[in-house]
């Protein structure tokens, strides 16, 4: 059995990363997955965008 992440696990880690700093092992697993997965790279951009949109929403500009 390999230890590669699937998308569901990668997405979970990206959400975790917004709450705490990932361990080195987590980071390298995630990077490995992202380098192979366009879907999750798109997701990563989107979740960061939503984060910025939320701060904008606060100031109302």
């Amino acid at each position: 059995m390999d230890d590669d992440l699937n998308c569901r696990e990668a997405v979970r880690l990206m959400s975790v990363a917004l709450e705490r700093i990932l361990t080195e092992a987590e980071t390298s697993l995630l990077q490995r997955h992202l380098s192979d997965c366009l879907d999750c790279r798109n997701f990563e951009v989107q979740v960061k965008f939503i984060h910025r949109a939320a701060s904008r929403f606060r100031s109302g500009e």
Partner: protein
């Protein structure tokens, strides 16, 4: 006070309502807080110097109203309606809507191009608010506190009286729900389903 100014202030009511609801979890109390805040804002509009945005200024007034109300209700706090958390604890079946059994996306996330361009469009913010409204109540509240107000997760969990791990799941679900909603309603109307 011009009518335009009045309309501008009124335009922030939905946002303020959301803020108050996140803090008070009671629609009637939230309504009351917002109403008092808007009256006070209109009375004191001359003191608004434009150093912050109008929304930030209004929120700071509302914050005091909310704190007042919280003090007033603290004794019968337990009467407040608490949860739709039970349904959300430990249950990850909602993820099955998004991911196939092998863990791959069911509907592939699309490229959103240059998403920042949406910030300039009023319609985008309407969609954004509608998507926030579409989240489960607890999800909307926790997301609002965490991502919009920037509160610490620990403080949010405490206020919501839930464990950090439940809190995290609610937040995770809210982020994913919001993403799906924005993709569907704004960015990727033609998103392919695979």
């Amino acid at each position: 006070m011009t009518d335009a100014r009045f309309a501008e202030i009124e335009g922030h009511r939905p946002y303020l309502m959301r803020y108050a609801l996140a803090q008070l979890r009671d629609a009637q109390l939230a309504e009351e807080a917002v109403q008092e805040a808007l009256v006070s804002a209109l009375e004191n509009i001359a003191t608004f110097g434009g150093k912050s945005t109008l929304r930030t200024w209004l929120t700071s007034i509302l914050r005091f109203k909310v704190i007042d109300l919280q003090r007033r209700i603290i004794s019968d706090r337990n009467n407040l309606e608490f949860t739709d958390f039970a349904a959300e604890t430990g249950d990850e079946s909602w993820l099955d809507d998004l991911f196939a059994p092998d863990g791959h996306w069911k509907a592939h996330p699309q490229s959103w191009g240059n998403p920042e361009a949406a910030f300039e469009q009023r319609r985008f913010w309407e969609v954004f608010e509608r998507c926030l409204d579409g989240l489960p109540a607890a999800g909307g509240r926790v997301f609002f506190k965490r991502e919009v107000m920037g509160e610490e997760t620990e403080a949010i969990c405490k206020a919501e009286r839930i464990t950090p791990s439940n809190c995290w799941v609610i937040l995770h679900r809210a982020r994913l729900g919001l993403r799906t909603c924005l993709e569907k309603n704004w960015f990727g109307k033609e998103a392919s389903v695979g």
